[in-house]
């Protein structure tokens, strides 16, 4: 019988103890941090971005004009006031009333805002606020507003809608922290 290269019982025991002790030593001496906190920061930023759009969207007209915040119009009115011929080019933004509100609600956060809508069967996406190039941890919040010719003319916008036309516009906020 060939007994070469066999692990004997006591050697096996010693090997098992050695391996177990090694694993224990490594796990005890290393701080194991799973990336939960990073996820929590992402969730927080996404929640804040979404809240900022929601709050601007629901601010009543009377409060918009009279509270201490620079949110003078709700989200629908802000979008309605946009001049469709003017797309933002860094560092010039073309939707200042929305930017005033967002910079007030989201200090220390950088963001870009795009408007996306369907026009003549094609999806159009226009940049209206540019603060820079989004980082790897950027999050996106979306909110839809519905424009009519009335809301546009009230805000002196240039959306050129018919009286019976509705235009659904997606406000896309890309936010990140530096």
């Amino acid at each position: 019988m060939n007994d070469k290269a066999q692990l004997h019982t006591l050697e096996g025991l010693a090997a098992a103890v050695l391996m177990t002790m090694t694993v224990l030593m490594i796990t005890n001496s290393t701080m194991m941090v799973t990336p939960q906190n990073e996820m929590a920061i992402d969730v927080q930023l996404k929640q804040m971005a979404s809240d900022a759009l929601t709050v601007i969207d629901i601010v009543p007209k009377s409060s918009a004009q009279s509270n201490n915040a620079p949110i003078l119009h709700n989200l629908t009115a802000c979008v309605a006031s946009w001049d469709v011929t003017e797309e933002a080019t860094y560092p010039v933004n073309t939707l200042d009333n929305l930017e005033d509100g967002l910079s007030y609600l989201l200090p220390n956060v950088l963001y870009n805002v795009d408007l996306a809508y369907v026009e003549n069967g094609n999806i159009t996406q226009k940049k209206v606020i540019i603060k820079g190039s989004p980082g790897k941890s950027a999050v996106v919040a979306r909110h839809f507003v519905t424009l009519t010719n009335q809301t546009v003319s009230d805000m002196n916008g240039t959306w050129n809608l018919d009286d019976d036309e509705l235009r659904v516009v997606e406000v896309r906020l890309t936010a990140w922290k530096v």
């Binding site: 019982t9 177990t20 629901i58 601010v59 009543p60 409060s63 009279s66």
Partner: protein
């Protein structure tokens, strides 16, 4: 002769037993190391997120054996769930305005006792049936006042303890709109000239029907300016001059920026002039007459009856941060 084929050797039996014992030991021991490193913190994350979400987005719920609804602030003994979102139509039992917080619900929330808050918001850890309460701090912070707690009814809106600096905490911030009071907006062109002698075009009059629980907040804009020194002179209530900074305060808003304004300060036709009068001036069931006198401003409306502050009331909402922080 006994056939020894197919027998398990004692060596093999011992070897596999040792291997299994070592494996079971490692599997049981190592996950507990992982758990102690992260699960405790992440359950705090969940608790903070859930608490902030339910406070900001839910109206809350009350119920007893015969009835139920969202207006839990009116039924504090039967609260089942605490939520602060406004429900403008309680009969619908839904909220369509998440992130808009009700003043009444916040004020009632501040009056709840600690055990109710911990129990109803689930601010505890359940270990083998035993409840261990988390430390917590729930605050509503004014963005316009450098994130200091919002003050409603002379009470700063903050619950729980101060955040400890010696341990891990988990914090979630939500942006909300808070109902902070009521306001009435008036266009100066629509306000009537005060017909009481001596008649001055720079003086207008407004009815205020009492009693009032909130301070009177008057916003007047679109002034017709006639001279070089447009300013506010005085307020007179039922024939009595009111004292600035005691009975009322005044300021102006220009393009969304709040600026001070006293009885000698100027404003222009882009300004909204704001008067904030103490609710204590309007305690009785009575229609008060409030005269507002300006300088170098004229009112043009002579025909219409007096306008009533109470009929023009609207809710004033301020953006704020709702923060929930929890710790073990």
């Amino acid at each position: 002769m006994i056939d020894e084929k197919g027998q398990i050797a004692v060596d093999f039996l011992l070897g596999i037993s040792l291997f299994l014992i070592a494996l079971i030991f490692i599997v049981q021991f190592i996950p507990s190391l992982f758990l102690s490193g992260s699960a405790g913190e992440s359950s705090l994350d969940y608790t903070a997120y859930r608490t902030a979400a339910i406070l900001a987005e839910d109206t809350g719920w009350w119920g007893n054996s015969t009835s139920s609804g969202t207006a839990w602030e009116a039924h504090p003994d039967n609260v089942m769930r605490i939520g602060l979102a406004v429900d403008h139509e309680p009969e619908s039992k839904l909220t369509n305005t998440p992130n808009l917080l009700s003043k009444d619900k916040i004020e009632r929330f501040m009056m709840l006792n600690e055990s109710d808050i911990i129990e109803k918001l689930g601010l505890y850890n359940n270990v083998d049936g035993a409840h261990f309460s988390y430390g917590y701090n729930i605050s509503i912070l004014q963005i316009s006042q450098n994130n200091t707690p919002l003050i409603l009814n002379n009470t700063p809106i903050t619950l729980g303890e101060a955040t400890p600096h010696d341990r891990e905490t988990s914090k979630i911030t939500r942006i909300v709109l808070v109902e902070t009071g009521t306001i009435a907006y008036f266009d100066a062109e629509e306000l009537p000239i005060d017909p009481n002698p001596p008649v001055k075009k720079s003086k207008t009059i407004l009815n205020v029907t009492g009693p009032l629980s909130d301070d009177v907040k008057l916003y007047i804009d679109n002034f017709d300016i006639t001279g070089t020194d447009p300013s506010f002179n005085k307020l007179v209530l039922d024939g009595t001059n009111l004292s600035e900074n005691i009975d009322y305060t005044t300021y102006k808003i220009v393009n969304g920026t709040v600026l001070p304004l006293n009885s000698t300060g100027n404003f222009d036709n882009n300004s909204t002039v704001v008067f904030s009068l103490k609710s204590g001036l309007f305690n009785n069931f009575h229609t008060y007459q409030l005269e507002i006198e300006f300088k170098d401003v004229q009112f043009t409306n002579t025909a219409s009856p007096f306008m009533d502050y109470t009929q023009e009331l609207e809710v004033l909402c301020e953006p704020a941060y709702l923060t929930v922080e929890v710790w073990n």
